[in-house]
Symmetry: C2
Subunit: 208 residues, 2 copies
């Protein structure tokens, strides 16, 4: 193990390096719809994070002036979007949604992923995803420290394979083929190590 | 795939379920030190996320009144802390740091993980981690939507195995044995699928 002198890296190398340091990240596809422009958009995002269970909230970060601009614009226009877990079967198509397509090209058509509408929800789901969420925009704010946007949204509905759901509420993401991502472009499957019991000072955790 | 009626779940089941929905999460150990109480603290956290590369920033979420209270208190007291990737070798000890130990018990001693001090940095590193970061507190704010605290900190130094670092800045987390977590208690190893080239509208992504 050595100290890595990232201050000396050029801008692109540094961005690639720093992006790896938080650890593995979730890989989701955001599906949005614009009534104004009569189009849909699909965009991979690795910055979704759990914010709370009651209310059921998720946070996500949008970079300023990024390729995500259509996504954020349509979320703010309609107030709704979907989150769809990227699986090992579709990670290449999911990655391709990060290309800078013009507004009139939907990434659904461009990548071959299929739009699906469920239960009257406004935004399109990704048919190929095994775990999908209907999300309602709650608030956003500019983080002035680096001009990124924090978006907070509430989980309205969840679609998932019931065989991945345990009685205690745990959802087996590995069984649902969800994958994770590191940095800008490295995709990983997962292999379960263990579930551990609730930690208490007087005992060691047990495998459950 | 079915619609999962989480509104009907009891509070604990719901917390477990909702916590899985963002996807796989990073697993880090936060090392802190208190001068005031002459003690150290070590706490597992799954809510660290990449915020930006220039400046090199990370965000993390602290629940209100959680077992993390010593950690946040000591970060605010000293302004410094470490982040240490959880590996497959230490995930059980890492999980055990979430037990509610009294202030006078350091989770380092309680779990057998080893404190290490590097290059004059105030907060303790975890010797067993392969990737460790020296962090400087920048700002925090209460997210009023659910009373969680968002902490933003800057990466000051990075320690990592040089054999995991590519020339383009990518750090192979899988090779460094970093693991990921789902929900409250499920730990996973990873297996590389592929790195993909920068996506462009006119071509398909290549494996690199």
């Amino acid at each position: 193990m050595e100290k890595i002198e990232f201050e000396k890296m050029d801008q692109r190398t540094r961005a690639c390096f720093i992006n790896c340091l938080s650890g593995f990240k979730s890989a989701n596809l955001i599906g949005t719809r614009s009534n104004k422009f009569q189009t849909t958009n699909l965009s991979i995002i690795s910055s979704c994070f759990h914010l709370g269970a009651q209310p059921a909230l998720m946070g996500m970060i949008f970079r300023p002036h990024s390729t995500d601009r259509h996504t954020l614009e349509y979320i703010l226009e309609t107030g709704y979007f979907t989150l769809n877990h990227v699986t090992a079967e579709i990670f290449e198509a999911a990655h391709q949604t990060s290309a800078r397509y013009p507004r009139e090209v939907s990434e659904f058509q461009a990548t071959g992923l299929n739009e699906e509408y469920r239960d009257g929800f406004l935004a399109p789901f990704v048919r190929e995803s095994k775990i999908s969420l209907a999300m309602k925009f709650r608030e956003h704010q500019l983080l002035t420290i680096n001009q990124t946007e924090l978006v907070i949204a509430e989980i309205q509905s969840v679609y998932a394979p019931t065989e991945c759901l345990s009685e205690d509420g745990s959802l087996d993401l590995s069984k649902a083929n969800s994958i994770c991502v590191s940095g800008l472009d490295s995709y990983f499957e997962t292999k379960p190590l263990a579930r551990l019991s609730y930690a208490k000072p007087e005992s060691k955790p047990k495998r459950i």
